[in-house]
Amino acid sequence: MQTNYIHIILADDDKDDRLFFTDVFDELKINTKVTTFNDGEELMNYLNKTEAVMPNVLFLDLNMPNKSGIECLIEIKASQKMSEIAIAIYSTSASEEDIEKTFVLGANIYIKKPESFIELKKALSEVVSINWQYHTNSLNKDNFILRLK
C-alpha cells in the first residue's frame, strides 16, 4: 500500500509518555499517522489482524504490563509479516543489559527517553527520517543507541 504519510505506532503503558509522543508529532511538520497502544498485548492483537496496516516505524516501550516490549520484539521478529518493521526501542532505562538484549533480538535503534520536550522532538524527528535500509545494513552497537548531536 503506497501512502504519502509515515505510519508510526507506539506501544507504551504510560499515559504521559503517549501524550508527549503524540504532541511531538502534532508539532512536527511531517506528514505522519500515529497510532498508540496501552500495552504489548493490545499492540500484538492489532498487528496480528489480517487487515492491520504495518507501520513504518514501531516505537516499543520495554517495561509494560501483560506483554513486555521484549516479548513483543521476539514475536514480531518471528513473524514473516512483521519482521520487516523498523523497531525503535523507547525506554526510560538505558541499562547495558537491556541494550544488549534488544540489539541481539534485532531491534533497529534504541532511544532513551529524553528529559525535555525539545530533546524528545529532536530525537523522534531524527528517528522517523532515518533511511532504514541504509541504517540496518551498517548497524552496530555504537550507532544502535541514538545519540543527539
Binding site: 504521559d16 504532541d23 532505562s93 541499562s95 527517553k113 529524553p114 528529559e115 525535555s116 525539545i118
Partner: protein, 594 residues
C-alpha cells in the same frame, strides 16, 4: 649417621665376643696339651722306674744263678742248682714285661733281644758246664774254656743291662729337660693371655656402657618427642594410625581414640571396629576409600562423619601413605583429623555468603529502582516543565519565572544525583574482565562526551600518546570523562582553559607516593588544569562520596564524580592522587599497574 655408629658398635661387640671365644679355646687347647705332657712325663718316670726294676730283677736272678752254679761246681751238690731251674722261667716273665714296657722304643727292643740271646747263651753254657761237672771233668781244657766263656757272657749281659738302663735314663733326662723348658714359659703365656682377655673385656664393657648412655639419651629424646607429638595431636585435633599390611594389624594413637569419643586404647584397633562408628550415610564412601587403600597402598583424602557413643556427630578427614621399615615390612601410616569446627565454620560462612548474596540482590533491585522507577517520574517532571515553559511561561510574572527556573535547576540536580549514584554503584562491581585496550581511544571517547563543554569554554586540551593497558574499558573511559569534566567544571571565569594530559611509565620505587605499591611498574597519567584549584589540605577528602568543596550555586556537581574515579582505580589495583593550589590549578595523578 647415628644409626651407622650403633651398627658399628654392634659389629665391634661381635668381634670382641669372637676374639674372647677364640682366646678361651686357645687356652683350653694349651692347657690340654700341657696336662697331657705332664701325664706323658709321669708315665715316662714310671716306665723308667719299672724298666730299671725289672732289669735289676733279671740281674739279681742271674747273680743267684751264677752263685748257685759256682757252688754246684765246687760241691757238686745239686740243691744249689735250684735257683737256676726256676730262674729261666722268671727271667722270661720279666722279659715279657720289659718287652711290653719298651714296645714303642725300637732301639731298646733290639737291646732286649740281644740281652735275651746273651741270657740264652749263658744258660746253654751253664748246661754244658753242669754236664761236665756231673761227669767230673772239671779240670779239662773244655771246661775251662766254657767257664771262661761263662764269665764273658755274664759280663756282656751286665754291660747290656747297664746300657739299657743308661739309654732309659738318658731318654728320661731328655724328656725331663724338654718338659721343664715347656713349663718355664707356660705361666708367662697364661698370664699374658689372661691379661689380653681382660683388656678386651674391659674395652667391650666400656663400649657397651657408652652405647647404653647414648641409647638412654636417645630414649629420652624419643620420650620427649612422643610426648610432644601426643600434645600436638590433642591441640591440632588429629590422631595417627598404622596399618601393618603384612600382618593386618592396626594401631591407633591415644588421641585418635579421643577423636572417636572413646578412652585411649579402650577397644581393639581394627577396620571393623572403626567402621562401626562411621555415620551410616558415609559408610559407602568410607569403604570405597579404604578399598583404594588396600589396592594402591595409599589412602586418598576422604571426608566422612562418625557418630560418637554420646550421639555427637563429628566430621573427620583421613589420609594415609605406605612406607617401608628397614627390614622391608610394608606399613600404611595414616593421619585422621577432626574437621568438625572447619566444616561448621564453612557452613556458617556459606550462610553468610547467601545472606550477602541476598543483600547484593536487594541492592541491585534498589539500583534498578533508582535507575528506572525514580528516573521515570523525574523525567516526566522535567518534560512537563519544558512543556510548561514553552507554552505557558509568557503568562507568568517575573517571580513566577524565577520559581520556574528554581524548579528546573532542582530537577536537573536530582537527575545528576541519580545518574551519578547509578554510575557509582556500577563502578563498585569488580567482576568485570580486564581487556587489553588502547587508552587513546578511551580518552578520545571521553573527550567526545564533553565536546560541547569544550567548545563552550574554548578549552585547549593537549595530551601525550597514551599506552595500551589491560583495563575495564568503560570504567577507564568513565575515569577520563570524570577527570576531564572536573577540570572543565572548576575552571576560572575568563581566560583560556588549558588541560594537559601527560603520560610516563614509572617504577614504583621511584615514586614517593607509591610506597604501598605491589607492582614494580606503573603507567602514570597526569591531568593538569589551570582552574580554581583547591586547598591541599582537602587533597584526600575530595575523593569521599558526596564531598564538595564549593557551593552548589557556583559549581554544579554532586560530589560523586571523584569517588567514582577512586572506585574505578581501586578496581584496577591502581592509585589516584590529587594536588591543588588555590587559583593556580589542580593536578590529578593516576597510576595503573602494568
Amino acid at each position: 649417621m647415628k644409626r651407622r655408629n650403633l651398627f658399628k658398635s654392634l659389629l665391634f661387640l661381635r668381634i670382641v665376643l669372637l676374639v674372647g671365644l677364640f682366646v678361651i679355646l686357645l687356652l683350653g687347647g694349651f692347657t690340654y696339651k700341657h696336662i697331657s705332657n705332664l701325664t706323658n712325663s709321669t708315665n715316662l718316670v714310671v716306665r723308667n722306674y719299672e724298666v730299671n726294676f725289672e732289669l735289676e730283677h733279671i740281674n739279681s736272678y742271674l747273680n743267684d744263678v751264677e752263685n748257685g752254679h759256682r757252688k754246684y761246681t765246687l760241691t757238686k751238690d745239686t740243691s744249689y742248682l735250684k735257683p737256676y731251674l726256676n730262674a729261666r722261667e722268671n727271667i722270661n716273665d720279666y722279659f715279657i714285661q720289659l718287652n711290653e714296657l719298651t714296645k714303642e722304643d725300637a732301639k731298646q727292643q733290639e737291646n732286649l733281644r740281644i740281652l735275651n740271646k746273651l741270657v740264652d747263651s749263658l744258660f746253654s753254657n751253664f748246661s754244658k758246664t753242669d754236664a761236665l761237672v756231673k761227669i767230673d771233668e772239671v779240670n779239662t781244657e773244655t771246661f775251662k774254656t766254657l767257664f771262661f766263656k761263662e764269665k764273658i757272657v755274664l759280663d756282656s749281659i751286665r754291660n747290656k743291662i747297664k746300657e739299657i738302663i743308661d739309654i732309659e735314663n738318658e731318654l728320661f733326662n731328655a724328656r725331663q729337660l724338654e718338659y721343664q723348658s715347656n713349663f718355664r714359659f707356660t705361666p708367662f703365656f697364661f698370664y699374658f693371655v689372661l691379661l689380653a682377655t681382660l683388656v678386651i673385656i674391659i674395652l667391650a664393657f666400656n663400649k657397651i656402657n657408652l652405647d647404653l648412655i647414648k641409647i638412654k639419651a636417645k630414649n629420652d629424646q624419643l620420650l620427649i618427642f612422643k610426648e610432644s607429638s601426643n600434645q600436638s595431636e590433642i591441640i591440632g585435633k588429629y590422631g595417627n594410625w598404622v596399618w601393618h599390611i603384612d600382618s593386618n594389624i592396626y594401631t591407633y594413637s591415644d588421641n585418635l581414640y579421643r577423636l572417636l569419643g572413646e578412652e585411649p586404647q579402650s577397644f581393639e584397633a581394627s577396620y571393623n571396629n572403626f567402621l562401626k562408628l562411621v555415620h551410616p550415610e558415609d559408610v559407602h564412601k568410607f569403604t570405597k576409600g579404604l578399598e583404594k587403600m588396600t589396592d594402591k597402598e595409599e589412602l586418598p583424602f576422604i571426608n566422612y562423619r562418625i557418630i560418637q557413643k554420646n550421639g555427637l556427630i563429628k566430621y573427620l578427614k583421613s589420609y594415609g601413605k605406605a612406607f617401608y621399615s628397614d627390614n622391608g615390612q610394608k606399613r600404611l601410616l595414616g593421619i585422621t583429623s577432626d574437621i568438625t569446627e572447619e566444616i561448621e565454620n564453612l557452613i556458617k560462612l556459606e550462610e553468610r555468603n547467601l545472606e550477602l548474596e541476598r543483600n547484593n540482590k536487594e541492592l541491585a533491585a534498589f539500583n534498578y529502582a533508582a535507575s528506572h522507577d525514580l528516573q521515570e517520574p523525574l523525567r516526566k517532571i522535567q518534560t512537563f516543565i519544558s512543556r510548561f515553559e514553552e507554552r505557558e511561561a509568557y503568562k507568568l510574572s517575573d517571580s513566577g519565572l524565577e520559581y520556574l527556573e528554581r524548579i528546573k535547576s532542582a530537577a536537573t540536580r536530582m537527575r545528576l544525583l541519580i545518574d551519578d549514584l547509578l554510575q557509582f554503584s556500577i563502578s563498585k562491581k569488580p567482576d568485570k574482565e580486564l581487556v587489553v585496550s588502547n587508552l587513546n581511544m578511551l580518552f578520545e571517547s571521553a573527550k567526545q562526551d564533553v565536546a560541547l563543554t569544550i567548545q563552550e569554554k574554548k578549552a585547549q586540551i593537549t595530551n601525550d600518546t597514551l599506552p595500551t593497558a589491560s583495563v575495564i574499558a568503560f570504567q577507564i573511559q568513565q575515569l577520563f570523562l570524570n577527570l576531564l569534566s572536573n577540570a572543565l567544571k572548576y575552571s576560572k571565569n575568563g581566560g583560556v582553559v588549558i588541560i594537559k594530559v601527560k603520560y610516563t611509565m614509572v617504577r614504583a620505587r621511584d615514586e614517593h607516593q607509591l610506597r604501598k605499591a605491589t607492582n614494580i611498574n606503573y603507567h602514570k597519567i597526569t591531568f593538569t588544569d589551570n582552574g580554581i584549584g583547591f586547598d591541599q589540605k582537602y587533597a584526600e577528602k575530595i575523593f569521599n562520596l558526596f564531598n564538595r568543596l564549593h557551593n552548589k550555586q557556583d559549581y554544579s556537581g554532586t560530589g560523586v564524580g571523584l569517588s567514582i574515579c577512586k572506585k574505578i582505580i581501586e578496581n584496577h589495583k591502581g592509585f589516584i592522587f590529587a594536588k591543588g593550589e588555590i587559583n593556580v590549578g589542580s593536578v590529578f595523578t593516576v597510576y595503573l599497574p602494568i
